[in-house]
C-alpha cells in the first residue's frame, strides 16, 4: 500500500490544522485563555477593592481626634482623685451637691440610690456633673493628614476643649450599656443580648436540625410527600428573613405571649418582645439551613461505611449512631457555626418582633427586653452626627470580629475533625 493512498484513506472530512497552522491555532487558543484569566483576576480585584473600601470606611470612622470639653474639671470635684476610685457614697454626695434637688429626687425615683450599682452612679456623675462632652469628632484620615487644620479649628471654635486621639472601640465601649451620649455609649448589653439570643437559637436549632436531617437522609423513603417536605425545606432556607420576623411576631410575641413574656412562670413586668421570642424566631430562621447542612454532612459519609456496618449485622440505628453521625460530625459542626453567625448578623426579623433600640440595662433572664449588636448598629447609623457614625463603626468592628472568630472556629474544627476514609 503506497503512502499516498493511505493518506487519502485516513484523511477525515473537514479541516484539521497542519504544519504552521498548528502553531497559529495554539497561539490563538492561548490568547483566549489569557483573556479569560485576566477577566478572572479583575473580578477578584473588584471584590478585594470592595472589601478594602468597607474596611477603610469602618476603620476611618472608628479612630480619630475628638475635641472634649467638660462643664466642670473633675479634679476640682474630687480634690485630685480620679472619679473611678471614689466610693459609691462619695459619688452620691457629689451628685447631690451638683444637681438640682428635683433632678436628684427623679434619679432616686427611677431607681433608688441604695439599689444602684457604683457604675450606674458614676455614669450619672459623669453625665450630669462633669458633663464630659465631645464637641467635635474627626475621622482617622483627616486626623493623620490634616492635624494642624484640626487644631486650629478646635482652638478657634472651642477654646476650652482639649483635643485627644480617641479609639471609639475600647474596653468601656465593649462593657457599657447603651447611652444617648455617644462617648458614653457601649455595646455591652447588645453583646450580651446577642449571646442570649444565639444560645436559645442554637439550643433549639441544633438538636431539631440534626435529628430532622438524620431522619430525612437515613430513614425517609423516596416518596412524594417526603420530596414535598424536602422542597419546602429548601425553599424555606431562601425565604427573606423579615418573613420569619412577621411569623415570630404573630406566633411568639402575640399568640404565645403568656409563654414568651414569662407570665406563665410568674414574670409580671414584660410583654412578648423578649429574648425568648427572638431566640425562637431565629431558631425557625436557621432551622432549614441546619437541616440542609446536616443532610449534606450525612450524605458525605461514604456508603461503604454503612455497608460495612450493615454487613456485620448492625441495625439501622446502630449504623447511624456508631458510624454515620460520628463521621458527619465535622460537617455538621461547621454548618452549625455558620448558622450561628448567620443568626448573629440577622437584623430584620428582630426589628419586626420588636427589639428595643434603647436598652440601658443588661439582660438577666430570657424574659427581658433585649437589643443585639446589629440592631445597635442600625440604630446608631440612623442617628444624625459624626459621633454616632463612629460608634456604629466601632460596633461593626465588634460584629465583624465576632463573625470572623466564629467562622475561623468552624474552619479549625473542620480541619481538626476531618477523617480519612
Amino acid at each position: 500500500m503506497s503512502a499516498q493512498s493511505m493518506d487519502q484513506r485516513d484523511r477525515p472530512t473537514g479541516y484539521l490544522p497542519e504544519g504552521a497552522d498548528i502553531n497559529r491555532n495554539i497561539a490563538a487558543r492561548r490568547l483566549r485563555g489569557a483573556i479569560w484569566q485576566a477577566i478572572f483576576v479583575s473580578s477578584l480585584i473588584i471584590g478585594l477593592l470592595a472589601l478594602a473600601t468597607l474596611i477603610y470606611t469602618i476603620v476611618d470612622d472608628t479612630f480619630g481626634y475628638i475635641a472634649v470639653q467638660t462643664k466642670v474639671d473633675p479634679e476640682e470635684l474630687t480634690g485630685g482623685r480620679p472619679l473611678e476610685e471614689l466610693s459609691k457614697e462619695e459619688l452620691i454626695e457629689i451628685l447631690r451637691a451638683n444637681v438640682s434637688a428635683g433632678l436628684f429626687r427623679r434619679f432616686d425615683r427611677d431607681e433608688p440610690f441604695s439599689e444602684r450599682s457604683k457604675e450606674s452612679v458614676l455614669q450619672l456623675v459623669e453625665e450630669r456633673v462633669v458633663g464630659r462632652e465631645v464637641v467635635a469628632a474627626y475621622k482617622l484620615t483627616e486626623s493623620l493628614l490634616e492635624r494642624e487644620r484640626i487644631e486650629a479649628t478646635v482652638r478657634e471654635r472651642f477654646p476650652r476643649a482639649k483635643l485627644e486621639f480617641h479609639s471609639w472601640i475600647n474596653r468601656e465601649f465593649l462593657t457599657r450599656p447603651m447611652s444617648s451620649v455617644p462617648i458614653l455609649a457601649g455595646v455591652g448589653n447588645a453583646i450580651l443580648g446577642s449571646l442570649w439570643v444565639i444560645a436559645i437559637t442554637m439550643l433549639l436549632a441544633i438538636p431539631i436540625g440534626i435529628l430532622g436531617g438524620v431522619y430525612l437522609e437515613e430513614y425517609a423513603s423516596d416518596t412524594w410527600y417526603y420530596r414535598l417536605i424536602e422542597t419546602n425545606i429548601n425553599n424555606l432556607a431562601g425565604v427573606p428573613s423579615i418573613i420569619y420576623g412577621i411569623l415570630g411576631l404573630a406566633v411568639f410575641v402575640r399568640a404565645l405571649e403568656s409563654f414568651t413574656s414569662g407570665a406563665m412562670f410568674g414574670v409580671t413586668d414584660s410583654n412578648g418582645r423578649t429574648i425568648l421570642s427572638a431566640g425562637l424566631t431565629m431558631a425557625l430562621l436557621v432551622l432549614p439551613l441546619m437541616i440542609i447542612n446536616a443532610r449534606e454532612a450525612i450524605r458525605a459519609v461514604p456508603q461503604s461505611l454503612r455497608q460495612a456496618s450493615y454487613g456485620l449485622g448492625a441495625t439501622k440505628w446502630q449504623t447511624v449512631w456508631h458510624h454515620v453521625l460520628p463521621n458527619a460530625l465535622p460537617g455538621i459542626l461547621t454548618g452549625t457555626i455558620l448558622s450561628a453567625s448567620r443568626a448573629m448578623g440577622e437584623t430584620a426579623p428582630l426589628i419586626v418582633i420588636g427589639a428595643s433600640t434603647f436598652v440601658v440595662f443588661f439582660p438577666d433572664s430570657v424574659f427581658d427586653k433585649f437589643t443585639v449588636i446589629p440592631i445597635q448598629i442600625y440604630n446608631w447609623t440612623s442617628q444624625p452626627g459624626a459621633q454616632f457614625r463612629s460608634i456604629a463603626a466601632a460596633a461593626i468592628i465588634v460584629l465583624l470580629v465576632t463573625l470572623l472568630a466564629l467562622n475561623a472556629t468552624a474552619i479549625l474544627l473542620r480541619n481538626r475533625l476531618r477523617r480519612n476514609y
Partner: protein, 272 residues
C-alpha cells in the same frame, strides 16, 4: 428438606450438604429485571466462585444472599433463598439476623475510621457481646489470626485501621467479618483493588478459612477462580440485559470440560 426456623439451628449441629440454596430467583431494580431465574446450591465448607463479564448479575446475586440488596431502594426479589431450610426473604425473617450469620467482604477495603481493635470489636459489640477486657483481647487476637494478619498488626492494635496498606485493610475487613462468627462469608471481588502479592495472601487465607466457613466469591479474575474455588458458576447477560446462570459445576469441570459453548468461549478468552 428441613423446615425449622433457621435461627434455632446451631451451625455445628446442622449437617446438611448445602449452606445456601437459591431457588428460581429473579431480582428487580424497579421495573428492570437484573437477574433472571437463577437456581444453584452452595455447598458447605467449600469455595464457590461466581464468574462472568461485567453486568452479568453475579454481584447482585451475591448480595441477595445476605439481603444487602435491601439497602438499594426499589430492589425486589422473587423466588427463594434457603438458609438452613428457611427462606431468608420470608416476611418473618429479620435481615439483620441474616447479615449477622452471613458475613460480607466488599470490593474496596472499607475499614471503619477507628483503631484496628475497635474495627474488630464493633461487630461483636453491636451484636450483644458481653465479656471481660481479657476476653475481648482474646477475641480480637483470634479474629486477626484467623485472617492471617495478627503478626503484622499485633503491635499497633490501637492505631487506625485506615492507616494499613490496601491488602492489610482487606484482611482486616475479613478479620472483622470473622469476629462475629458467621457461617457463610460472601466476598465481592475482594482482590480487585489489590496488588498480586496481597491477592496471593488473600487466596491462601481463603484456603484456610474453607475449613470452617462456607465461602462465596465473585471474581473477574478467571485464574483466581480456577486456583481457589471448588465450584464455579458462570453468569452471562441475556438479550434483555438480565443476568442468567449459564453453567454451574465443579471448577475443574467448568474450566476443563465446559458443557456450554458460551462458557467455553468465555473461559478461553474469546469474549467478555
Amino acid at each position: 428438606m428441613a423446615t425449622a426456623e433457621f435461627s434455632s439451628v446451631n451451625t455445628l449441629q446442622s449437617n446438611g450438604k448445602y449452606a445456601v440454596e437459591l431457588k428460581n430467583i429473579h431480582i428487580y431494580y424497579g421495573a428492570f429485571r437484573a437477574v433472571n431465574n437463577v437456581s444453584l446450591q452452595i455447598e458447605r465448607q467449600r469455595i464457590t466462585a461466581f464468574i462472568g463479564p461485567s453486568g452479568c448479575g453475579k454481584s447482585t446475586v451475591l448480595r441477595a444472599i445476605n439481603r444487602m440488596n435491601d439497602l438499594i431502594p426499589g430492589s425486589r426479589l422473587e423466588g427463594q433463598i434457603l438458609f438452613h431450610g428457611k427462606n431468608i426473604y420470608d416476611p418473618d425473617v429479620d435481615p439483620v439476623e441474616v447479615r449477622r450469620r452471613i458475613g460480607m467482604v466488599f470490593q474496596k477495603p472499607n475499614p471503619f475510621p477507628k483503631s484496628i481493635y475497635e474495627n474488630i470489636m464493633f461487630g461483636p459489640r453491636i451484636n450483644g457481646w458481653r465479656g471481660t477486657k481479657q476476653q475481648a483481647d482474646e477475641l480480637v487476637e483470634r479474629a486477626l489470626r484467623g485472617a492471617a494478619i495478627w503478626d503484622e498488626v499485633k503491635d499497633k492494635l490501637h492505631q487506625p485501621g485506615t492507616a494499613l496498606s490496601g491488602g492489610q485493610q482487606q484482611r482486616l475487613c475479613i478479620a472483622r467479618a470473622l469476629a462475629v462468627q458467621p457461617e457463610v462469608i460472601l466476598m465481592d471481588e475482594p482482590c480487585s483493588s489489590l496488588d498480586p502479592i496481597s491477592t496471593l495472601k488473600i487466596e491462601e487465607l481463603m484456603f484456610e478459612l474453607r475449613q470452617n466457613y462456607t465461602i462465596v466469591i465473585v471474581t473477574h479474575n478467571m485464574q483466581q477462580a480456577a486456583r481457589v474455588s471448588d465450584y464455579t458458576a458462570f453468569f452471562l447477560m441475556n438479550e434483555s440485559r438480565a443476568g442468567e446462570l449459564i453453567e454451574y459445576g465443579p471448577t475443574t469441570q467448568i474450566f476443563q470440560n465446559p458443557q456450554d459453548e458460551r462458557t467455553e468461549n468465555y473461559i478461553s478468552g474469546r469474549f467478555g
